[in-house]
Amino acid sequence: MGLVTLLQYLVNGAFVSSVYALMALGLTLIFGVMQIADFAQGALYMLGAYVSFYITNRAGLSYFLSLPAAMVGVALIAVLNHLAVYRPLRRAGGATSFVAALGILLILQNIALWVFGADYRLIRSPFGDGKAVVLGAVITHQQLFIVLVTAGLILAVWLFLQRTRPGKALRAMSQNRDAAALVGINPDRIAVMTFALAGALAGSAGALVSPLRAFDPHIGALAILKSFAIVIFGGMGSISGALLGALIVGLAETLTAAYVAAEYSDLVAFILMILVLFLRPQGLRGAAAP
């Protein structure tokens, strides 16, 4: 195994990590603000891929248009989930939000099966077979695009959280709900905003990866389970933890597939998560155990 081969795997891993980062970021934001493990995000990721498919392959419009369309469309559905299900149930708390989230996942996944059919779909990449060679490792333009857009989106979210008033309000809610309400932050408005943000991120992940991986209405389930494992691995509610976790899991998965066996790569995220729970229950970057 040469160094170039290893570099090639790391390049491949970077794009896997990007998708996880977008999903895990949304999940951890919702968990931080609402204390909900929103499994329905898996369905939102899947819907992002379908929005992109219909705009690019069916309507014949540009792939670059499908990305913002998927973000906006999926964000609307995320807000709808919140208003229709999570908000009315917010007093129930505990395991119930888990049940509700799985209920939504089942509903959306099967509506998709009904409307879109069970066939695998793949979007034509606007980059065709374009490739770049970096130090001997090949990266397709589509992969490069995914990594760059992800980096841009993460930067945008970071700036939003650090620099803008609503972003600061979101962080305040996530740190101390009651104190935030006391200083006049409207928790309902912040909740809607958080769901919209997470929905846009999940939708973008679906649209970004759809030219590289064939998808059907079931892709969301495993994706959300892994993202969830990543969020726990990184520390629930921690943004830097989610990003670090996504990076580690994406690379570890690719390396496992390359050096151990492809069929074990799906296990990596879960095993890392179990290890972290036993050794450091609050996660890599989590504050003291909540």
Partner: protein, 314 residues
């Protein structure tokens, strides 16, 4: 009195519902009653939640099936081995994770369930992966002949129904005994105030591990009962969605109520099957909506709600 009625209803069921499809459903309900009763041992007393029970059931099913297929182990021994395997897996995962805070423990069981499904799928050399294990022998027990029923091979659906219904009755009885005994008292104390329970000298960790191991051993045995009935198992039967279904059955039936572990599986198995026969896709959508409605309107489960309304009537 109520118990006698239930017993009579269970005994008469295969003759009230004589078609093959109905009897098949009865057997599945009985297996689900065993699983939900084992879950309720945790949830109804200590408030501990396991979201990986289908995985433990899978361990039992694969253990039992592989022993019977490769070594021709008789059914009852394979059943015991399945319970042992389930219990050992429960000990392995429960011992370290029950030291964690409650919601971390729930997560560990959930993720462990997923790991198990992935292992069943990827250990192709042992489990044949997604292709599944076919040709598992039927359950046979050497028993004297009673009329037309030999009980030697539980090939007939009625015979097998009585076997699993008997097992379900046994598990329900065991649950009642444990809940009313020392273990139950300790678990309830842990649920109400764990620090205090520890302070008065209850070895809380030991009791929690014990309850979890009993629960997962029962789940393993239920897996064996399933494997030797279906004669075919594959990873698809033991997914996190199935674990989740069991939890929902427990919740809808009413956790901690005596009749909950019977009512929940009965209701949900019938509802899901009826819906699936109409349209599989619509069934999943309706089931999702049903879940959301159930937690909105019946947070303490059906039996909990009935009990409350009965209390109000008095």
């Amino acid at each position: 009195m109520k118990r006698l009625l239930l017993l009579a209803a269970a005994a008469a069921a295969p003759f009230v519902f004589p078609t093959i499809a109905q009897r098949h459903l009865l057997i599945l309900i009985a297996i689900n009653v065993i699983l939900v009763a084992s879950l309720d041992l945790l949830m109804g007393t200590a408030g501990l939640l396991s979201l990986g029970h289908a995985g433990f059931m899978g361990i039992g099913a694969y253990t039992s099936a592989l022993l019977a297929l490769h070594y021709r182990i008789p059914f009852l021994l394979a059943l015991a081995a399945a319970a042992l395997a389930g219990g050992l897996a429960g000990l392995f995962i429960g011992y370290p994770s029950l030291r964690l805070r409650h919601h971390y423990f729930v997560l560990v069981t959930f993720i462990f369930g997923i790991i198990l499904t992935l292992l069943f799928t990827s250990l192709v050399g042992v489990t044949r992966g997604p292709m599944g294990l076919p040709g598992i022998p039927f359950a046979t027990i050497g028993l004297p002949q009673v009329g037309a029923h030999t009980f030697n091979t539980f090939r007939s659906k009625v015979d097998y129904y009585y076997l699993v219904a008997g097992a379900a009755g046994g598990v329900l009885w065991l649950r009642g005994r444990l809940v009313r005994g020392r273990l139950g008292a300790a678990l309830i104390a842990i649920r109400e105030e764990e620090q205090l329970a520890m302070a008065v000298g209850i070895p809380t960790h030991r009791y929690k591990v014990l309850a979890f191991v009993i629960s997962t051993a029962i789940a393993g045995a239920a897996g064996s009962l399933y494997a030797h009935y279906a004669t075919f198992i594959s990873p698809e039967v033991f997914t996190f969605v199935d674990s989740f279904n069991l939890f929902v059955m427990n919740m809808i039936g009413g956790a901690g109520t005596p009749a909950g572990p019977v009512v929940g599986p009965l209701l949900l198995t019938v509802v899901r099957d009826t819906l699936r026969n109409i349209s599989p896709v619509a069934a999943e959508i309706a089931f999702g909506a049903f879940l959301i409605a159930a937690i909105a309107f019946l947070p303490t489960g059906l039996m909990g709600a009935l009990r409350r309304s009965a209390g109000r009537g008095r």
